[in-house]
């Protein structure tokens, strides 16, 4: 896989993540939007999305996720454009730092779902997996021979 291919993969992952975060944001603000998720047993999006942990600083976590994916998308685009001649070190560092911020948030949210709420939201889990996949892409791409400039 070339560095450019990794860049395209990053863009694709951020677009999917943005779409899911947008759906969860819509769910929060518009009660007429149907919740496509099981709500019995351990898989229960409604319980997770209406729990106290679903709000941080008075803002829904879904909105924070939306903002995170916007920034990740911009970084991915910049990377894709720059990767022809090797990704600039500062861009690589920013991408890695941003992905680590996302990963730390994912760990906190996973803890909240299991320990505090006792329910799992599959849409949230999909976003968690996307963030972790972005971290793996970040690391794998960095191991490419053309990752640094000439």
């Amino acid at each position: 896989m070339t560095l450019r291919s990794y860049g395209h993969l990053r863009v694709a992952l951020t677009v999917i993540g943005f779409a899911i975060a947008a759906y969860l944001t819509l769910l929060h603000y518009d009660s007429s939007v149907p919740l496509a998720c099981g709500s019995g047993g351990v898989i229960n999006c409604e319980t997770v999305l209406s729990s106290p942990a679903s709000m941080v600083l008075g803002v829904p976590v879904a909105v924070w996720g939306l903002l995170w994916f916007v920034v990740a998308f911009v970084l991915a685009l910049m990377w894709t454009r720059a990767s022809g001649g090797g990704e600039p070190p500062h861009l690589r560092a920013a991408g890695l730092a941003w992905t680590l911020v996302g990963t730390a948030t994912v760990l906190w949210l996973v803890y909240q779902e299991i320990a505090e709420i006792g329910r799992i939201c599959i849409w949230c889990t999909a976003i968690h997996l996307l963030v972790l996949a972005l971290l793996v892409v970040e690391v794998r791409a960095d191991q490419r021979p053309e990752a640094t400039g000439p």
Binding site: A36, E46, P52, A53, G118, Q143
Partner: protein
């Protein structure tokens, strides 16, 4: 030659640096993987401990409903009920079976204090059920302050009692609106029979798959089911329970209209399963029309 050697040395240095950096980033992946596993393990252990402590976390401080508010519910004139009718009321879903305990039809409610839709539904339920019996021990409640329709004013069935010679009322408040740690304080669990009804009817084909398992879940006589709010909790916002209750006897205002219209709908469903008793309620022309309009086929 010398230039070539210098270039080779630079290449070697860069390759060495790249190998070192790649190694450190692989280490990051290992750390994240370990952290993820540790998070899940700690969370599962914490969850187990929290469940064990749930009984000790019952910290609700009940706020009794005043006699004046209860009187507002109990003194709604027949003329007001009739004038409101069932305009904009949410009809039930016909689920077909029959449920009885001790010979009386059962009205089953499953909801939660944090839930704003349950908050709205309780208003119509209390207004309607007050025509068939008497409540005592109800407490004031507001829905979650961090969910949609925050802090919707309502009442809690938790700890309350209801007596009626016509129907039995079973209420399950799953949780309060009180936040304990990072979750709502657990209150009651449905019995196996109640859970079976919830699983069976709060699901397709009785409603769309996307709404399955939603609360409030209200089942009248095992025949008529509501899942979700009968009206928007928005109309209750920024008012106290006392203010809203005071509008019920006259039916003035959009909140009272929706509470009473849906109350008439509940009343019609109850009359349809309890043999149209009491006659002074069930023989009212508005109720008779609503009974005739009730669905009679499973969707």
């Amino acid at each position: 030659m010398a230039r070539d050697k210098t270039r080779d040395k630079r290449k070697a240095r860069r390759a060495r640096a790249r190998r070192q950096r790649s190694g450190s980033l692989n280490w990051v992946l290992v750390v994240v993987a370990v952290a993820l596993v540790a998070t899940v393990v700690v969370a599962v252990k914490h969850r187990g401990a929290a469940s064990g402590d749930a009984a000790a976390q019952q910290t609700v401080k009940p706020r009794p409903v005043s006699d004046a508010v209860m009187k507002d519910f109990e003194s709604i004139p027949a003329a007001t009920w009739s004038a409101v009718g069932t305009v904009d009321a949410t009809p039930p879903v016909f689920v077909g079976d029959s449920l009885a305990a001790g010979g009386k039809p059962v009205v089953l409610y499953i909801g939660a204090g944090y839930c704003p839709y349950c908050a709205a539904a309780r208003w119509s339920m209390i207004a309607s059920l007050s025509r068939f019996g008497t409540f005592s021990g109800l407490t004031l409640e507001e829905s979650s302050s961090v969910d949609v329709y925050p802090s919707t004013p309502t009442f809690s069935f938790y700890g309350g009692h209801y007596t009626s010679q016509y129907i039995d009322l079973e209420t399950v408040e799953l949780a309060s609106s009180v936040i304990v740690g990072n979750h709502y304080q657990a209150l009651e669990k449905p019995t196996a029979a109640q859970q079976a009804l919830l699983d069976k009817y709060d699901a397709p084909p009785y409603l769309a798959k996307a709404f399955a398992g939603g609360i409030p879940f209200i089942l009248v006589g095992g025949r008529y089911m509501w899942s979700g709010s009968p009206f928007s909790p928005e109309v209750l916002a920024h008012h106290s329970q006392a203010d809203i209750a005071a509008t019920l006897p006259t039916g003035s205002g959009s909140a009272a209209q929706l509470i009473l219209a849906n109350g008439n709908q509940f009343t019609a469903a109850i009359c349809a399963v309890d043999g149209s008793q009491p006659a002074e309620v069930c023989s009212d022309p508005t109720i008779r029309r609503a009974m005739a309009a009730l669905p009679h086929k499973v969707p």
